[in-house]
């Protein structure tokens, strides 16, 4: 697999981090972390009246003998935290002449390794004909299979075809360049629904940040193949900058409204930007 070096490098970088777990809303299968809700761990939490459907094994028979009431013992839920890693593998992430694809996979490997360090389960989703799980995604990144960063569909199209089956109360990390038209708020709402936390990591290349030098250019959309002939001059370059700022503001607003945390990283300068992930409490040093 041509992306394996990037995954290996990301895995190596990820060993320094552990996924930061938001204590407030943790939920999951039985695991090693204590959840907020009552569950089936050995740690006693409280009593309450029996309700049909409660596990009979949890009835405090001693209390029943004393009070003649069916009292159920409540134990603290033992939760297994879960990471849903959502990768935008559309064509724009494989822009020619840029390290965007490598940056995507490195980040994915970092988050995956950090999740393992935090003893989280994980599922890695990638765009395509709908969202699909990456092969062997429960294994370390170096064992992942079937990742191709050149999907024929955009992130939104994939979401419309088949959305990812995200686990309830899981931690969700979206890694993408976010370069698709439309209002970002509905997308972030879907992703943040029932999530313990949503981190949006925007990966851009310098070519995305800075428009081309003046001259005659035939611009080709890397996802749709659509072309546009333009003479780039100072005015158009300025318009590009303004449009880009407005676009970023729209994502900032949507993230704020949905409680997601958004960070923008430059693919060409990824390793020096990892501190930003600590700043938004997505990762913490081991």
């Amino acid at each position: 697999m041509k992306h394996r070096p990037a995954l290996l490098e990301g895995e190596k970088l990820g060993l320094r981090y552990a996924l930061a777990l938001p204590q407030a809303t943790l939920a999951g299968l039985r695991g090693e972390q204590l959840g907020k809700r009552a569950g089936s761990s050995v740690d006693f939490q409280d009593y309450r009246d029996y309700q049909p459907g409660d596990d009979l094994r949890h009835i405090d028979w001693n209390a029943f003998a004393r009070t003649d009431q069916l009292i159920v013992k409540l134990f603290r839920e033992e939760a297994q935290p879960h990471l849903d890693l959502i990768l935008d593998t559309s064509g724009s992430m494989a822009l020619k002449g840029t390290p965007k694809a490598d940056a995507l996979l490195k980040l994915a490997a970092i988050f995956s390794t950090a999740a393992m360090n935090a003893r989280c389960s994980q599922a890695v989703w990638m765009t395509g004909e709908g969202f699909n799980r990456v092969g062997n995604d429960t294994e370390p990144p170096s064992a992942w299979a079937g990742i191709e960063v050149a999907g024929a569909h955009t992130f939104e199209e994939s979401f419309a075809i088949l959305p990812p089956a995200l686990r309830r109360q899981g931690i969700r990390v979206l890694i993408s360049d976010l370069l698709w038209p439309g209002d970002p708020l509905p997308t972030l709402r879907k992703l943040s629904e029932d999530a313990a936390a949503l981190y949006v990591v925007q990966v851009l290349s310098e070519d995305d940040l800075e428009p081309p030098e003046p001259g005659n250019l035939e611009l080709v959309d890397s996802e749709t193949g659509e072309t546009l002939n333009l003479y780039i001059d100072a005015t158009i370059r300025e318009q590009y900058h303004q449009t880009f700022i407005r676009f970023q503001q729209s994502w900032d607003n949507a993230a704020r409204k949905t409680g997601a945390k958004l960070v923008t990283l430059t693919a060409e300068n990824l390793e020096n930007s990892l501190r930003r992930l600590e700043e938004i409490d997505a990762l913490e040093p081991v």
């Binding site: 724009s92 822009l95 020619k96 002449g97 965007k100 360049d177 370069l179 698709w180 038209p181 851009l204 290349s205 070519d207 995305d208 428009p211 081309p212 030098e213 003046p214 001259g215 005659n216 250019l217 035939e218 611009l219 080709v220 959309d221 890397s222 996802e223 749709t224 659509e226 546009l228 002939n229 333009l230 003479y231 158009i236 318009q239 590009y240 449009t243 880009f244 676009f247």
Partner: protein, 588 residues
């Protein structure tokens, strides 16, 4: 319509499409993949709103560079546009030869030419006037005159005393100073050899064929103890005629006769003259051209040399002494010898002493019968022929390092020459009379005559006393300052930076030249006579006009040179280009 001086320069126009090609390759639509057209949406929508096709846009600097190239290519072709002009300068070539003075007063070509020029200047407005006197070499008569009155003031310098007129050379000078912008008028008494057409040159001849007797040769030479006068009188006209010849001195007539000369023939007369007569005047009857009817002749220069014979007494000394005396060039004056004959190994002292050393006879002499190798360019061998002579000398003799061989028998030097650092000349001769026959032949005195004449020519002063006008008159000054007295009594100071100068003579007459003021003042008299047979021939003088200037309509439409304007425009465009480049920080 513009005209192009260098139409081949249009080849350089290929740089224009080449530049366009370079820019096309650099500025065609370059394909560039972007993550999304999201941020270019505005431009895409505006394009879709209309149906306008986006064409590649070219930067401003390209058009500036194209303009610069076009201007430079155009400038290289030397474009000339027709623009209105009203006036041109006039350059007048005036025949400065003496034939322009032929004829009765009021009808001389010079007077007619001035009158004609005045009419032309009044009739047609000229921007300025420039006069060129065409003698044997052309000369400008003054600065450019802005008004006909200023031009008329320059006529005084047009003396018509030249023995000939090189009109083509003067026209060439006129063309070179006019840069093709001026009209040229030639005023002469001769018809052109190659008549000009319509354009810039107009040729006007104002002469008439006339009968004219003239002195064409005049000489006064030393002949033994007296002088001999030789005169040649020509009649170049178409009919025979007579003239009265008179030879006078100080108002006293020495000879008088009536000379009849057939058409195209000449008459020679030789008259012996006592050498004491200082200046002789020969005149002919008055006719059409007065300048060639009189000649003045002064006595010829007789140079003598102070010679010392220091050879030891004996036959050789006697032989050499007799030979020197036979030349007739020995001076009786006392003083430092100018030519010393000796047998000493040492070079003789004396500021102006040249020497001839005779080598002592060899113990084993040889007789050389030739072939003799002679440096014929050397003054000592002028006219010398050694064929048949026997020359006795030393067969072991060799040429010294600094000596030049003048006469050798094979590789045996017989006469050698050494030129000293002080300019003096020293010769070495080996000659054994007992074994030779050369001294029995006329070549022996000729050799000594050559040596003394060579020394005499190195003396200060003139080489000849009677000269033909227009010939160079060389003069060796006895000091750095020379005073030349002209026939009209005026004196002119001349400086002689070297020793030899050419005296500036421009008219016939009797002159005096003086030099050597510091030590030995020397004054010599010399005569200059007209003696120009071709110029005296008035049979070919004619009247007429050849060639014409452009009409006034033609003149109004002139070809003006636009080259400077194109170069200036190109420079301005280059400055603009530089400004654009600096503003774009070097991006093109």
């Amino acid at each position: 319509m513009p005209a192009f001086t260098y139409p081949l320069a249009w080849i350089a126009a290929v740089t224009l499409p080449a530049l366009a090609g370079i820019y096309f390759l650099r500025h065609r639509y370059r394909r560039k993949e972007v993550s999304s057209l999201l941020f270019w949406q505005m431009h895409r929508e505006s394009r879709e709103g209309g149906t306008k096709t986006e064409k590649p846009r070219w930067p401003l600097v390209f058009f500036i560079e194209l303009l610069i190239l076009a201007l430079l290519v155009l400038a290289a072709t030397g474009p000339r546009w027709q623009t209105p002009q009203t006036r041109r300068p006039l350059i007048v070539v005036l025949d400065d030869s003496q034939s322009m003075l032929a004829g009765p007063e009021g009808q001389r070509p010079r007077e007619l030419a001035i009158e004609s020029l005045g009419k032309i200047a009044r009739k047609r407005g000229f921007l300025s006037f420039r006069l060129i006197a065409s003698g044997e070499t052309p000369r400008l008569l003054g600065d450019e005159a802005r008004h006909p009155k200023e031009m008329e003031a320059q006529f005084a310098q047009w003396t018509c005393l030249s023995p000939g007129a090189n009109l083509q050379s003067a026209i060439g000078l006129a063309r070179s100073i006019s840069h093709g912008e001026a009209d040229i008028l030639v005023l002469t008494d001769q018809a052109p050899e190659d008549p000009p057409g319509k354009g810039r040159v107009r040729w006007a001849a104002l002469g008439l064929p006339r009968i004219n007797f003239a002195f064409v040769n005049a000489a006064r030479t030393a002949y033994g103890g007296e002088d001999r006068l030789l005169l040649e009188i020509a009649n170049p006209s178409a009919s025979a005629g007579e003239s009265r010849l008179q030879i006078t001195t100080n108002g006293q007539t020495l000879h008088e006769e009536t000379v009849r000369v057939e058409a195209g023939e000449s008459y020679r007369i030789t008259v012996p003259v006592p050498p004491a007569i200082p200046v002789l005047h020969a005149t002919l009857s008055e006719d059409a051209l007065p300048g060639d009817n009189t000649v003045a002749l002064v006595p010829p220069i007789r140079r003598t040399i102070r010679v010392a014979n220091n050879l030891p007494d004996g036959p050789l000394k006697k032989l050499v002494g007799g030979t020197l005396a036979s030349t007739g060039m020995l001076s009786t004056q006392e003083g430092e010898p100018e030519f010393l004959v000796h047998d000493s190994e040492n070079i003789p002292t004396g500021k102006g002493t040249w020497s001839l050393r005779l080598l002592p006879a060899s113990e084993k002499p040889a007789r050389f019968t030739g072939p003799f190798v002679t440096d014929t360019s050397h003054p000592a061998t002028k006219g010398l022929s050694l064929t048949g002579a026997i020359w006795g000398g030393d067969p072991a003799a060799q040429v010294k390092v600094d000596d030049l061989p003048v006469i050798t028998a094979g590789n045996i030097p017989l006469l050698t020459h050494f030129n000293g650092m002080d300019g003096r000349n020293h010769l070495t001769l080996q000659y054994i009379p007992e074994h030779s026959t050369l001294h029995l032949t006329p070549q022996w005195p000729a050799l000594f005559w050559n040596l003394l004449r060579w020394r005499a020519q190195a003396q200060p002063g003139l080489k000849e006393s009677n000269h033909r006008l227009g010939m160079d008159i060389p003069y060796r000054a006895a000091g750095s300052e020379i005073i030349l007295r002209r026939p009209d009594g005026s004196a002119q100071k001349l400086q002689a930076p070297g020793k030899d100068i050419r005296l500036p003579i421009d008219s016939p007459g009797v002159y005096q030249v003086t030099s050597g003021f510091a030590f030995e003042e020397t004054t010599e008299t010399f005569a200059v006579n007209f003696l120009a047979g071709q110029e005296s021939d008035l049979s070919k003088a004619t009247a007429g006009e050849w060639g014409s200037w452009d009409t006034e309509t033609d003149v109004r439409i002139e070809y003006a040179n636009f080259l400077p304007y194109l170069v200036l425009a190109a420079l301005a465009a280059m400055a603009w280009h530089l400004f654009c480049i600096s503003r774009q920080k070097g991006r093109v």
